[in-house]
Each structure stands twice: as C-alpha cells, then as structure tokens.
Amino acid sequence: MQKDGIGKQPAIRRIKGKLAGLPAISYALGMLVLFIAIFAVGSATFLTRYNMLTIGNSAAILLAVAMGQVFAILTGGIDLSVGGIMSLVSVVLMKTLEPLGFWAYPLSLAVGIAAGFLNGLVNSRLRIPSFITTLGSNGIFMSIAYMISIKPLSAPSSSFGVLDIVNGTTLGIRNIMLLGVLVFVLFFVIQRYTITGRNIMLLGSNEKMSWLSGVDIFKVRTIAFTLSGLGAALAGVMLASNLYSGYPTLGTVYILNSIASVVIGGTAMTGGAGGVLNTLVGVMVMSVINNGMNIIGIDVYAQQSFLGVLVIIAVAISFDRSKLSVIK
C-alpha cells in the first residue's frame, strides 16, 4: 500500500527533512563560509587563485589522514597513531626510493596498512581501549622510524622523476590535488557503498545490536583501523614526496589536525553519526583557518590554541550525551 507512497512528497518537505537530518554538517558549512568571509575581508591575497591552490595542496594531505581517522572515530574509537604511521611511512619511502623506484610507493602504503591492521587487532582481540592501543603504538611506530634513520632522509635526485606522481601536474592540475580527490572518492565509496562501510556505521551506532544481528564486530573494528592506517599511509607518502624528505616526527602535527577535522566536521565522538562527507568539510575549515591565519600573520602556535578551543566547542555541541549514562 505504501510501497510507492513514501518517495513522493512535496519537494519543500523533502528539503526540510534533509536539512534536519544533517544538522552537524550544516554547522561545519556555516563555519566554512564564516571563515572564508573573515579572511577574504581581512586579506586581499586570500581569495587569489594562487592562494586557493596552496589551500588545496595542504588540504589534500590533511584530507587523506582525516579520511582514515574518521573510520576509527565512527566505530566510537580514536586513532592517536596516525602521526607515527605517517612518519614511519615517509622514512620507508625515502629509504626505498632509490633501490625500488616506483615500487617504493606500494611498499610504503603496505607498511602503513599493516600498522593500522595491528592497531585494529590489538584493539579488538586484546580488548584494549583504542586510545591506549594507539598511544602505545604511536611510540612504537616512531621508534621504528628512528631506527631506520635518526636524521631526516632526503630524496635522491635520481628519484625526482618518480616523485612526480605526487608533485607533477596532469592537464594543468597538480597531481597532489587530484590524488586528494581520488582519496576522497575512495573513502566515500567505502563508507556509502560497501557492506563494510555500512557495518562500521552500525557498529558505531549500536555495537550490541550489530553483534546480535550477525555483524562480525572484531573484523569490522579491525578493518576500520586498517583503513585509518591506509589514510595515514597515503598522507605520509603525499607529504614526504611533496617535501622531498622523510623524518621520524613528520606526522606528529597531523594527530591533532586529523582529529580536529573529523570533530569540526560534526562526526560524533560516540561513533555512528557523521562520516566522510562531514570530514571533507571539516578538512576545508581546517585548511582555510590554517592558511588564513598564516596570511593575516597569526603565528602557528596561536593557531594551535585556537584549534584546541574549536575542538572543545565542536565536541561540546556534537557529543551525543543521551548515548552514555556516565560521562567519563
């Protein structure tokens, strides 16, 4: 009887329903517009084509790591090891560029994926809270990076050609931005169009129910952290190629920035709400803030303080308190 009736509603009501369904992302979009307006007024150079490209460049790297992070957060966990993974991957890439050439890329990505897989395994099988698991493993990954090389490694000039995969341009657009778009599409498809992606949402929304409905919660949790490792690995190779170097503290700042992007985008720390699209907007907000503040001349550390406050505000707004009886 209602089989067809439900899809057919007045357009206005449908739009209204959609807006009500996406409050978190609309906050983030509002924030984006606000900051763009502020910086556009505050600086003449902000809206130039060149500056937009600069923003896109840095956004691409942040996007990759945040795309991974959001999967960890969607399960209700967190990944504090993305920095360690990025650093480790950058060092591995620089170390293997000369002997392996192009094949250094898949190798580095594999290292990052393996690191994320380990996080997932420890978190789900040993049943250790993810923030402890990844706090510990971050140290381990950094140590391994240090053991490979204490000093920053630079790309050998013979390999510059290989690095053009990231640094070159295709049809007048910089590859790194194309990569950013590709990464977004990849993670978007995983979240929206695969069973694993759906199961991650279910798990984050209601773990007990997911288990009772036959979802393999161990596997799904492990996959979520593996995806986080993949995101960090992609960001690591992009950043290292972009800088022509890799070193054991390269990724540290991205721990904060990736979490901030996810949270500002409106993905709930309790899991199950938000996602890749929200995080895209969160990353844009972050990149605009970083760039705009640089242009206006606010120093890097003031920016960090500002982000810290922004994260607290974003969580205070988006955190679903009804889901937990006790806030710890």
């Binding site: 399960t75 209700g76 966990g77 967190i78 420890v122 978190n123 789900s124 040993l126 049943r127 250790i128 809270p129 993810s130 923030f131 402890i132 698991t133 706090l135 510990g136 493993s137 971050n138 140290g139 381990i140 950094m142 140590s143 391994i144 240090y146 053991m147 204490i150 773990e207 007990k208 054991p248 904060l256 979490i259 949270v263 720390m269 899991g271 120093d299 550390y301 003031a302 920016q303 960090q304 303080s305 500002f306 982000l307 810290g308 406050v309 994260v311 607290i312 969580v315 205070a316 955190f319 308190r321 937990l324 009886s325 006790v326 806030i327 710890k328």
Partner: protein, 342 residues
C-alpha cells in the same frame, strides 16, 4: 562442550586459588603492590646480568631514583584522575604553560620579574585553574574527559609557546636548581620531594572523605551518586588537584634545567601513562593508588635506564614503553566494567 578457552581459564583460576592459599600467596596478597615489586625484581635481575652488576650499583640506583622523581610526580598527578575512571591527556599542555610561566616570573634574562618563592603557589594556581577547567568541561558540559583534556592540552601548549615567543628562557635564580640537584643522606632531594608528595596523596586517598569518595566514583559513578556522593564536586576537585601537581612538576623541570621553554612539556604524557598502567592503577577506575603510581614510575624509569646502560639504541625506548603500556593495560583492565571497548 566447554570451549578450550574457558577450560584454560578455569585451570588458571584453579592454579591461582591454590597459590593464594599457600603462605607465599597470603604474603603476596597482603601487600597491595606485590605484583609490581616482583616485576621490578625481574627488571633488576635482567639488567644486572646484562650490565655485569653495573645496574645495581648504588650510584646507578641513586641515578634511577633521581631520574624517576619528576615522572613520579606527574604519574602521581594523573593517576588520581584515572582512579575516578576518567582520563587526563592535558598533562603536556599544563606542564608547558606552568613551565613557561615559571620561567617568565622567576628572575630571568628576558623579563624584569622576580617573584622568588612565591612562584610555588603561583604555578600551583595556574595548573590548578587549568585542571579546574578540565573538571568543569567533564562535569558541567558533560564532555568525555579524554577529548576535552586533549583539546585543553593543545590549547595550553599553544598559549605557552606564544607567551614564551617560542624560545627558551634562561633563569638567573639559582636557588631552585641548587635544591633540586642537592642530596640528602645521599638520596636526591627531588626524589624525597616526590616521595613526600606520594605520602600526602596516600593519606588523602585512605584517610579522608575526599579519598573514599573518589574510589566510590571510580567503582561505579551511578551507585556512588545514589549513595549521596557529590560526584561533580569531587571530580572537579580531583581534576583541580591534578592540575596543581602538574604545576609543581613544571616548576621542578624548570628548576632542574635552570631554564624554561614550552617544549619541556613534550613527551611527558606517554611515560606517565605507562607508569600508571604498569603500577597497576586500573584504567577502568576505582583500583590502585599512590603506592602503585610510585612503584610504576620506578619500574618504567629503571627499564629505560637499563636499556641505556646496555647501550641499546635510545630511540628503542619509546617502542619499549609502547609495548609495556599495551601489555600492562591488557593485564590490568577490567573488561566487564568497561563493557564495550572503544
């Protein structure tokens, strides 16, 4: 029909109850930190063999005690919040801001300030205020402590760098350093200070209402509230107290190095958390206390010192700490209480 796992567990429990019944077992259970003492013994044994006894030489023992003082104070601070069942990741930010404040307010080569001994209440006030904010975010805004304190850490660290303009500030007041590096009966004074703090907290935890209620909250917040525990007030006080102790640690760091910089806060959280877990303070809350924090820190510092003596790559240390942290939590966490592990 029993699965292999459950049978294995049963055997383990049977073994455990057998051990408990013996005299050794009774002794083991009468001391609250006996497991940790055994771990320390094992660490000592391995390294003294590995270093031909150098590890257990009295001068090295004193080095270990001296090195463990500041981490111990930090661990004593953070373990209080963990007893509540909450989490405090703001350690590095609060230490950074108190260290920088101490540097700028004591006699230094950048500003004209010289507050002298008043610096002690001042750093405790700054740290305490930051801790209070942590507590308010957790109780009044009902935010999960681990994310709100993470945000606080970034915020305060940024502020610390801003007010220090990113550079280190040399001190001109040598009194503090003198106290810190001095010895009393051959024991580093700074270690004695840490132990005294541990003693104060031990008494607080066991002999006062605040202490009893803090454990009640860690055990089960809802039941504690039902019984009439003023949960919010106690949580805020403990976060505040923790902040005050961070402040003291910040000052001691500055005093020991005779200069101050925001980066002094870096890389302190990780060892402190490891010490908490190794000491046997359960991350699920309500179990463990000052004694556990003290012994936990000594184990972690001894472990790192041993690695240095054995000339193992110094960058291995954070890997070792990471493994130790994960395994210690794996062994101590009460999974039934946490329910779903996120």
């Amino acid at each position: 029909m029993k699965t292999k796992n459950s049978r294995r567990l049963e055997n383990l429990f049977a073994l455990r109850s057998k051990v408990s019944a013996s005299i050794v077992g009774k002794l083991y259970h009468s001391i609250p930190i006996s497991g940790q003492i055994i771990s320390l013994g094992i660490v000592a044994l391995i390294f003294s063999v590995g270093t031909n006894g150098q590890f257990l030489h009295i001068s090295n023992i004193m080095t270990v005690l001296g090195l463990s003082a500041i981490p111990m104070i930090l661990c004593l601070a953070v373990h209080q919040v963990i007893i509540l069942g909450a989490m405090d990741l703001s350690l590095e930010g609060i230490v950074a801001i108190t260290a920088v404040s101490a540097g700028l307010l004591l006699k230094n080569s950048v500003t004209a300030n010289d507050v002298g001994l008043w610096i002690i209440p001042i750093v405790m006030l700054i740290g305490g205020l930051a801790g209070l904010v942590n507590g308010l975010l957790n109780t009044k805004l009902r935010m999960p402590s681990f994310i709100s304190t993470l945000g606080m850490s970034w915020t305060l660290f940024g502020v610390a760098i801003m007010i220090s303009k990113g550079s280190s500030i040399p001190l001109r007041d040598l009194r503090f350093q003198k106290v810190i590096i001095s010895e009393f009966l051959g024991i580093p004074t700074v270690f004695i200070l840490a132990i005294l703090l541990g003693l104060v907290l031990y008494i607080m935890q066991n002999k006062t209402k605040l202490g009893k209620h803090m454990y009640a909250i860690g055990g089960n917040e809802i039941l504690a509230k039902q019984a009439g525990v003023k949960v919010d007030r106690i949580k805020i006080s403990i976060f505040g107290l923790t902040g005050m102790i961070y402040g003291l640690a910040g000052l001691l760091l500055v005093a020991r190095l005779n200069s101050s910089a925001a980066r002094y806060g870096n890389n302190l959280l990780f060892p402190a958390m490891t010490a908490v877990a190794v000491g046997g303070v359960s991350l699920s809350g309500g179990v463990g206390g000052a004694l556990n924090a003290v012994i936990g820190t000594i184990i972690v510092v001894a472990l790192n010192n041993g690695l240095v003596l054995m000339q193992i790559n110094p960058y291995m240390q954070s890997a070792v700490n990471g493994i130790v942290l994960i395994s210690a939590v794996a062994l101590t966490i009460d999974r039934n209480k946490i329910g779903i592990i996120k």
